[in-house]
């Protein structure tokens, strides 16, 4: 029967192969499915060999930025006079994104195994997994799996008798979106207010507790065991488009499609096939209006842009947006885009950490302008003002939260200006009246 949906022929199940199998959650069940073979292999390898293998695979960060994972690991100092740390970013809070949750719910040991291998690669003996506060089930699954891994000797002072140590500490967030930003996450782990840190210094130099730290997304780490077992060449060959975008990617699709859910695709799959084949396309009688392809922080795409778009890092950039976290929000023609953009802006205004002036005040101001527009009280100058504010919220702050607020606003106004103007001319019914 299969996990929420049967595997579609155009999917490439790697990480998601065992989604939906309760037994895969247990240590024994995971070993039965080939789990921990990668770890045993990694224990025989030098850190450099692991890093080289991952470099050769072309694996890129699955959290949003898409930075090559092997290269990130290679930034870590070889000197271990200070402890090194691996952080796993499981604070999956980007609106529209719900892929890491599934990894933790169904294959917790894949993540634990990835963490230990990542730790070996960067000479870290401890991994902190920072799980989003709202993720109740994934948290409990992970806690249980970690306990099992300790009991089975995969974690602890002597990983599988290798003499090497690795500990996993699970930390539960308290519900702040900003704590998914890597340096805010570290501050939060240290018990400080979850404010992003100014860079440099970069985490590889001074990260968690001031020690060299690498932070990776759940999906990134969970992909590593597969790369070690099946080889970098296999992974690098998994692409339908650019050799710079290799492997599989979990795409969480939500919104107005017939079958929303988490799909694992080979990078480069045409976005059209993803939406129309895998997800079953629009609801009856509806047409596609807009897609936010990579979590709420990326620019909005038009149907025309979706038409020709390859779902990979470069392909989406070429169409004016980003792959981001792979959290795809599909909107059909019943959608009030101005309202949706206001909702996004309101989210960012609520979640701004309040450090940087442009973000703290800009996100809130942007929201107020949009709310007023929706109430039918907008001014002709509001659109230009929104664009100007967005300009001053982009590339001006410590982290990219304010850029993320600006992206949908700017792309929305540029690509769907008529929707905004309808509120100015009175053609659209004031939506905020009933809110």
């Amino acid at each position: 029967m299969g996990y929420p949906h049967p595997i579609h022929p155009k999917e490439t199940p790697v990480l998601s192969t065992h989604f939906g199998e309760a037994d895969a959650r247990t240590f024994d069940g995971w070993v039965k499915r080939g789990g921990y073979a990668a770890l045993r292999k990694a224990l025989e390898m030098t850190p450099e060999q692991i890093v080289d293998e991952v470099k050769a695979s072309g694996l890129r960060g699955r959290g949003g930025a898409g930075f090559p994972t092997g290269m990130k690991w290679s930034f870590m100092p070889k000197d271990t006079s200070r402890p090194h740390y691996l952080c796993c970013n499981a604070d999956e809070s980007e609106p529209g994104t719900f892929k890491d949750r599934e990894i933790m719910r169904w294959t917790p040991h894949a993540l634990i195994e990835g963490c230990i291998i990542g730790g070996l690669a960067i000479r870290a003996e401890t991994t902190y997994i920072y799980i989003r506060g709202e993720f109740t089930e994934p948290y409990h699954v992970m806690v249980k799996a970690v306990a099992e891994a300790y009991a089975a000797g995969a974690l602890g002072a002597n990983v599988f008798g290798s003499g090497k140590r690795h500990d996993v500490v699970i930390h539960r967030g308290a519900g702040a979106y900003i704590c998914g930003e890597e340096t805010a996450l570290m501050n939060s782990l240290e018990g400080r207010r979850g404010n992003p840190r100014i860079k440099p210094p970069f985490p590889a130099v001074a990260g968690l507790f001031g020690a060299p730290t690498t932070i990776n997304n759940v999906e990134t780490l969970a992909a590593v065991p597969h790369i070690l077992v099946r080889g970098a060449a296999w992974y690098a060959g998994l692409t339908l488009s650019s050799p710079k975008s290799t492997g599989t990617k979990l795409i969480s699709v939500c919104g107005h499609v017939q079958r929303p859910g988490v799909y694992e695709i080979t990078l480069g799959l045409p976005m059209k096939e993803l939406i129309y084949d895998l997800c079953g396309g629009m609801l009856p009688g509806r047409t596609l209006k807009a897609v936010i392809p990579g979590g709420s922080s990326v620019p909005i795409m038009t149907p025309a842009e979706v038409e020709e778009c390859a779902t990979d890092y470069e392909g989406i950039v070429a169409k004016g947006s980003m792959l981001g976290s792979g959290g795809m929000i599909v909107m059909d023609d019943t959608t009030d885009l101005v309202y949706q953009i206001m909702r996004l802006a309101k989210f960012y205004a609520h979640e701004s950490c309040a450090q940087c002036t442009n973000c703290r005040e800009g996100t809130a101001w942007t929201t107020r302008i949009l709310e007023r527009l929706l109430a039918g009280e907008g001014k002709a100058s509001d659109l230009d003002l929104l664009l100007e504010l967005s300009e001053q919220m982009t590339g001006k702050t410590i982290c990219v939260l304010s850029d993320s607020c600006a992206a949908p606003v700017v792309s929305g106004i540029h690509k769907f200006r008529a929707d905004f103007e309808a509120y100015l001319t009175g053609a659209a019914v004031p939506a905020m009246a009933e809110v």
């Binding site: 702040a176 100014i198 205004a349 442009n358 703290r360 005040e361 100058s381 001053q392």
Partner: protein
């Protein structure tokens, strides 16, 4: 490494600065002020206000000058159109929730938000028709009010309390535009150095209750001074309005107090404004004191000293300047002298984040100066010597009752007084002298740093600086003597300072060379 330098060009001015210098500091060297709020040279930089964004050639975006280190050959434009537009935007953002209640704000006139908005901001706002954020004024502690509406969340106060004072009782609470500076409900902002947050606050958000609505900034006259409260010798500014001292604030001196003073020093100015001052010289005439002019008083002083054969005791208060102590020691030279400075003791209160900075236990500004000038007997031995002394000279000392009683039994007593003391019933001579706020002089702090202070208000009545009185008395004791006419001359004549001059001391002082004290 430390002496490596880097040459950069900032707004067309080339400067060479030590490697690792941040652009904002290098710009100061180039004579360019990069507008900023969160940056402060004595605090860690969080780069949050985004006001100091500057254009750096070859950088993909504007860089925060407070945390971007200079690199060789770097070309920086502080006033490029992009940088100015960015700052204009930050100012507009900062103002959207700011009440603009400048007419009733204590900070007005010395407000960095006013200054930079005036300099670079937009004339109008585009944030019309929306209500501004409102939150009521909060009482943070002993002397501090927090006005959240005016707050621009630069977090200088948070960093001061956390990183410098080591007492992190305040923090940014909430998020987004609802954020404010909050204090733990069980805490008070009453650290012995907490008053500095008021100075650090670039806007009128953290206010001193003591100064609340007391004066407008533009009505204040500012005088460079030295805190007379303890042996630390913090540099400070005396703010006066119509000749009344209304506020003391720290004056930067990286060698002594950086940018801070303690709350004890800050609050201790009311004595400077006392109205019950000794204003005319008084001489004993039978069983009463008679007001005379300075000539008569100084003659009497010289006569008394010339006629009294025997030991002399000098009792000085902790605020006596080097000029005064040197002058008095010269005045009594020739006799067997026991000279001491009274040093009230208190608790030491360190500012943990700054090395060698504390409110010192010894609450006497010029203790080290006194030692250098031979005023070095113990207070107890000096008091013990009073009964056998032919002459006792008291220089502005706060006496307890037992001491006053003992002094009433002295053979002869001259009082260099800022306030006449009725307990000294047998006093022969009351010589009205200025306080440190009314004269210029030098204090030597515990690290032997000689530092000048300047007169901030006029002397009352006929009061004259004690060094002048001592000098005149000395000149009248024998023919052919010429007393110093100025404080500068009086200081220059002090052998203990080996020829140091006011000019050399400047306004941040200099350490007295060890050889000078050996010569003493």
């Amino acid at each position: 490494m430390a002496d490596e330098t880097v040459t950069v060009t900032i707004d067309d001015v080339q400067v060479t600065v030590p490697k690792g210098t941040m652009i904002i500091e290098a710009a100061k060297q180039a004579g360019v002020l990069v507008p900023h709020y969160c940056y402060h040279p004595s605090l860690p930089s969080p780069a949050v206000c985004r006001m100091c964004l500057v254009q750096v050639e070859k950088a993909p975006k504007l860089m925060p000058a407070c945390v971007t280190a200079v690199t060789e050959g770097q070309v920086v434009h502080v006033h490029s159109p992009d940088a100015k537009t960015a700052r204009e935007a930050v100012l507009e953002f900062l103002l959207i929730n700011h009440p603009l209640d400048c007419p009733i704000c204590d900070q007005a006139g010395e407000c960095e938000l006013q200054d930079f908005v005036f300099q670079e901001g937009r004339a109008g706002t585009r944030y019309a028709d929306y209500p501004k954020r409102y939150a009521p004024v909060e009482d943070f502690g002993a002397d501090i009010l927090y006005v959240p509406n005016r707050c621009i969340l630069c977090t200088r106060c948070v960093r001061f309390m956390g990183n410098v004072a080591g007492d992190p009782v305040i923090e940014v609470y909430d998020r987004g535009d609802r954020a404010y500076i909050g204090i733990d409900q069980d805490e008070r902002l009453d650290h012995p150095w907490s008053g500095n947050v008021v100075d650090l606050c670039p806007v009128g958000s953290l206010l001193s209750k003591d100064f609340l609505h007391k004066a407008r900034a533009w009505d204040l006259d500012k005088t460079a001074s030295i805190c007379p409260g303890c042996t630390q010798g913090c540099n400070m500014t005396i703010d006066t309005r119509d000749d009344a001292v209304v506020r003391l604030r720290p004056r930067p001196n990286l060698e002594v107090n950086r940018h801070f003073i303690c709350d004890t020093g800050r609050a201790d100015y009311r004595w400077m404004n006392r109205g019950d001052r000794a204003e005319a010289p008084l001489v004993r005439d039978g069983d009463r004191l008679r007001a005379v002019d300075w000539d008569a008083a100084l003659d009497r002083c010289a006569t008394l000293l010339n006629e009294s054969a025997g030991p002399v005791v000098v009792l000085a208060g902790g605020r006596a300047s080097c000029e005064t102590l040197g002058g008095v020691m010269q005045l009594v030279a020739g006799a067997q002298v026991t000279a001491a400075m009274k040093v009230p003791m208190g608790a030491e209160e360190a500012l943990s984040g700054i090395p060698d900075l504390a409110l010192r236990a010894e609450r006497a500004a010029n203790l080290e100066g006194a030692r250098l000038l031979g005023v070095n007997a113990s207070w107890a031995s000096a008091m013990a010597a009073v009964s056998g002394a032919a002459m006792v000279i008291v220089i502005d000392v706060e006496l307890d009752d037992a001491e006053a009683t003992a002094l009433a039994g002295a053979s002869h007593l001259a009082h260099f007084a800022t306030i006449a003391d009725p307990r000294l019933r047998t006093v022969d001579l009351v010589l009205p002298v200025t306080t440190m706020a009314e004269e210029q002089g030098v204090y030597v702090n515990r690290d032997r740093r000689a530092q000048r202070y300047l007169p901030a208000r006029p002397a009352p009545g006929m009061a004259r600086p004690a060094w002048w009185v001592a000098g005149q008395g000395w000149a009248r004791r024998a023919p052919g003597r010429s007393a110093p006419a100025t404080a500068s001359e009086a200081f220059g004549a002090l052998a203990a300072f080996g020829g140091m001059t006011y000019r050399e001391l400047g306004m941040t002082g200099r350490v007295v060379p060890a050889a000078a004290s050996v010569a003493r």
